[in-house]
Amino acid sequence: MVGAEEAARLDRLEIQVENGGGGAWEYLCLVRKLKPRRSDKVLKHGLAILNDPKARSNLGGEEWTLYEQVAFAAFDCQQHNVAKVFSLSLPLPLHMCDCVAVLSKEFPGSLRVGRLEGMLLEAENSWAEAEKVYARLLEDNPLDQIIYKRKVAIAKAQGDLKVAVDFLNKYLEIFMSDHDAWRELAEIYVSLQMYKQAAFCYEELLLSQPTVSLYHLAYAEANESQCIEYSGFIILLFLRFLLTAFIEQVLYTMGGLENLLTAKKYYASTITLSGGKNTRALYGICLCSAAISQLTKGRSKEEKESSDLPSLAAEALLRDYKYRAPKKLPLLNSMLKNMKLSS
């Protein structure tokens, strides 16, 4: 994860390079280090350096790293960026092949270049050919993590999410400490609305990296989504209609309440870890508390939560909005009033 200072430096460099102020190589190195997805800029500035023989020779041995970086950027642009086809008049496929061809010539039989060749086939949508290349590479390098991940990517690109999940699970059996893989798996589960499974992935991440607030937040949201899912947007029914009849129709089980309580706990830990600055977590507490009080209506008093947490969260939100988003303050106020979290 990128630190704020480095992210700011990246943005500054990007503006500088875009406006012709030089520093392209420094920018490209920083992109390689921080790995943000800026493929269009990388492609533009990287190609500019590669097409200039003097700049290229200045790079020395790093020239090959640049070829690789530009190749990755070109793959990305061709697949996703419809808009870029408007502004770049370069015939992209030609350049992708060029970069890979140059590298193959310089490093024949290399695993790293072999992977690039596979990715080139992927970018051209030749999935079967790409899989063949990767199968061949895996024979010689059975523990290469990147190739396994490419296989997952191919499945995902073809829309076979269940297959992607399968591959990822097999991968994680071998490489169980790969955080990125757990995150990817969690995100795929969320997109399939399999919140319980997503929560399990976040649990793994929480165990290994308990101080990363992002995981606490994601775990809380997965839990809350699970409850919202089978209670059908419980809050909205409550607020729009304010009819208890509707609430009774809403399905809720002990499972629903448990999920909300877990979610609330982890929103709270997110707030602790992020120094109270995480807006999503503050909202999360408010939503959870409103839902919990709705679900526990009519239950005995001992089971009810009694804490200042919801009202404190509401106060923090109101304060923040007052200073940074005053135009939205009335909306926030009325939302919190409806949830009975402010007066």
Binding site: V82, F86, S225, F233, A325, M335
Partner: protein, 205 residues
Amino acid sequence: MAADCCYEVSQIAYVKLVLHALKHPSSAVNGLLLGRLRQDGSTATVEVADAVPLSHAQIGLLPALEIALIQIEEHFEAEGLSVVGYYHANERHNDLELGNAAKKIGDHIFRYFPRAAVLLLDNNKLQKLKTGKGRDPAVQLYTRDSSRSWRQTGSDGSNQLTLKEPTANIVLFDYISSEKWQQIVDFDDHLDDISKDWLNPGLFD
């Protein structure tokens, strides 16, 4: 179920949703459509007046959606508009299927507005815009039919989709060329930094 109904999408809503999708080319994006129902005699028209971009990451997570729905409905009530639909752009370039997440959100909106429209971005039509030959809106319209499933509507009569301003595609093309999509803000951006306004005031000035 709803009889024949026209869906008229204003330029503001249309341009916003396409720009939102272009800002996040490698992920799915979604948003809400605001508007009103107009009844002229026997024809009903759903006027989609505006759109609010919602998120570009982890669309399946529901808490943010709930908060957005509450605040957006409240804000637009004052202007006489309500949530009349939902738009979605798939993660993959050639994926033209309406996914489950989109259908679920559509179902929820349908409960409050039976003529709810779901617009799915069509990348093939969007690419045609580049050649200047795009006349059709770069979106597909889905409505719920009597069998409670979301069906795509064709241009063959019932449930027609039209762009309110015929110059909308030309204006869109202009904005794309000037990379206007960088300025659009969605609810996700707002939650990350509340000083960013999901109403996108001044976007088209």
